[in-house]
């Protein structure tokens, strides 16, 4: 097991976003988190990456208790990649500089070695000619693919994807999803929060429906989408179908 989330609670003001949530992720597994806006999908990912402090419970990564306050969060984050909904590329750096920042500054690789690795990745995802461009010259889909490469170049044990296609124009969603599909083929362990139900169905090994700060229902996509056992899940999915998103 790579990731184990045990009874995690996160409170914002009086609102319990996560209320004793449990989740485990095995190596090479792809877990999709679905649920209404505000159901805690993003918060959960931010907690796993230690960008948010949790209010109770424990999170384990590779058998290490990472929510122990004595653990250095920088060391933990070096082993986890996260990609955000709004890409969050650094606007003052070129694509290549964005990608090589962490390899050079954090992982102490030489600039040459990091640049070579970055160019190889960019070639693979069809962005080789954008290496020296600034992010504002790229389309949303291209920026998001760069953000994914920026996370992957550090060879993380676990990749967290936080609604990575939600800010994209419909015709740009495909290029990002196909990149994630390729990553699954290579055995990358991923947890993705998504509104793309069709994609979750295709790519996920396990689908988790978050409701009331907990995982209300989880199982293989055929079961969760095809024959959900919880009324809340059925209600959520019927709204999605109404909106034409499934």
């Amino acid at each position: 097991m790579i990731l184990s989330v045990q009874g995690v609670r996160k409170v914002f003001g009086s609102h319990r976003v996560l209320d004793g949530l449990d989740l485990s992720v095995d190596e090479h597994q792809v877990v999709a988190l679905i649920g209404a806006s505000g159901s805690g999908k993003s918060t959960l990912l931010r907690c796993v990456n230690l960008l948010e402090d949790i209010d109770d419970g424990m999170i384990w990564l590779d058998g290490e208790h990472i929510t122990d306050p004595r653990v250095n969060p920088d060391k933990v984050r070096q082993r986890i990649g996260i990609v955000f909904q709004s890409y969050n590329l650094f606007p003052h750096m070129t694509v290549l500089e964005n990608i090589t920042l962490a390899p050079v500054r954090v992982h102490r690789r030489s600039a040459k070695e990091a640049a070579d690795a970055a160019r190889e990745w960019l070639t693979r995802v069809g962005l080789a000619e954008k290496a020296d461009a600034y992010p504002d010259r790229l389309s949303g889909g291209q920026q998001q693919r760069v953000a994914i490469v920026r996370a992957l170049i550090n060879s993380p044990r676990l990749l967290l994807l936080d609604e990575v296609t939600s800010a994209l124009d419909p015709e740009l969603v495909g290029e990002v999803l196909s990149m994630i599909r390729d990553l699954k083929g290579e055995g990358m362990t991923m947890v993705l929060a998504t509104h793309e139900m069709g994609f979750a169905r295709q790519v996920a090994d396990t689908v988790c429906f978050l409701d009331g700060g907990k995982v209300l229902e989880q199982g293989p996509p055929e079961q969760v989408f095809g024959d959900p056992s919880e009324p809340r899940t059925r209600q959520f999915l019927s709204r999605i179908i109404e909106a034409g998103r499934l």
Partner: protein, 274 residues
């Protein structure tokens, strides 16, 4: 490609409008200029004012001394601007430090910006240039250096707040992205936050530098002869105010390149954000 009659009509109409607005602008400029000239030269005391403020021969005699004084302003400006920028940045960074260990540092930095933004520059100048030498310590720097220090510590208070505004304007998602890659707080500041912050506040920083350019002359209160003081000395010799006008013109000429750079940087920043 041939254009439709509608487009040809639009182009012709816009061209006529352009010609009309250029003519209106020229006419109104002419009217305002004539009114100003008539109002000024027609004033009852104009001849006496012209003699005592715009005497060419007095200007010629005063120019070398005033220019020599201006050279002092320029040198002081360069050192004070660099010093104030460095100190201001340092204080801004100290104010952003988190954690209980840094409480005293943070409190000192905050106190600094409150004190030196509130304290009139002239009082800081007097304390440093007249008070501090009174301590009769070994190796006391010259009054000029002490005056420069007064300018640096006063302006650093303002610049620190400009830098801090820049640092706080960088969106939290940029910090999250940097930290998520494993960068430490210091690495995040240095490689992600500061480069964006400094770029964003470059126009107000340069603006404060233009203001500093005029205030460096205040060291003359403690003795050193800058352009304004040189003009004052010439005026006392000739009972003619023309040297002040000479100094004023030189200051404007000196400020022009800096102001032009400020405008250019502002424009570029505005373009990058669009």
């Amino acid at each position: 490609m041939s254009l439709s009659p509608a487009q040809l009509d639009r182009i012709a109409y816009r061209r006529r409008q352009t010609v009309i607005s250029v003519l209106i602008a020229a006419a109104s400029t002419l009217v305002v200029g004539v009114l100003l000239a008539v109002g000024l030269t027609g004033a009852p005391g104009w001849d006496r004012v012209r003699e005592s403020f715009f005497d060419l021969s007095v200007a010629r005699d005063a120019l070398p001394d005033v220019a020599a004084g201006l050279w002092l302003n320029v040198r002081l400006l360069v050192f004070c601007a660099l010093g104030a920028l460095a100190l201001g940045l340092l204080i801004a960074l100290l104010r952003t430090l988190r954690g209980p260990v840094f409480f005293p540092v943070r409190a000192l930095a905050t106190g600094y910006t409150y004190t030196f933004r509130g304290l009139p520059l002239i009082i800081v100048l007097y304390v440093l240039t007249l008070g501090v030498p009174g301590l009769r310590l070994e190796g006391m720097p010259s009054v000029l250096v002490l005056g420069g220090i007064a300018l640096v510590i006063t302006y650093a208070g303002y610049l620190a707040e400009v830098f801090r505004a820049g640092i706080e304007s960088v969106h939290p998602s940029q910090l999250a992205a940097a930290r998520s890659l494993g960068l430490t707080y210091r690495q995040t500041m240095r490689h992600v936050v500061l480069p964006q912050a400094v770029r964003r506040v470059a126009p107000p920083l340069l603006n404060d530098t233009v203001a500093l350019q005029k205030d460096v002359g205040l060291v003359s209160l403690a003795g050193p002869i800058d352009a304004v003081r040189a003009a004052q000395i010439s005026t006392a010799e000739t009972f003619n105010y023309t040297p002040y006008i000479v100094a004023g013109v030189l200051f404007v000429l000196l400020a022009m390149p800096l102001i032009a750079v400020t405008d250019w940087v502002t424009l570029r920043a505005a373009r990058r954000q669009s």
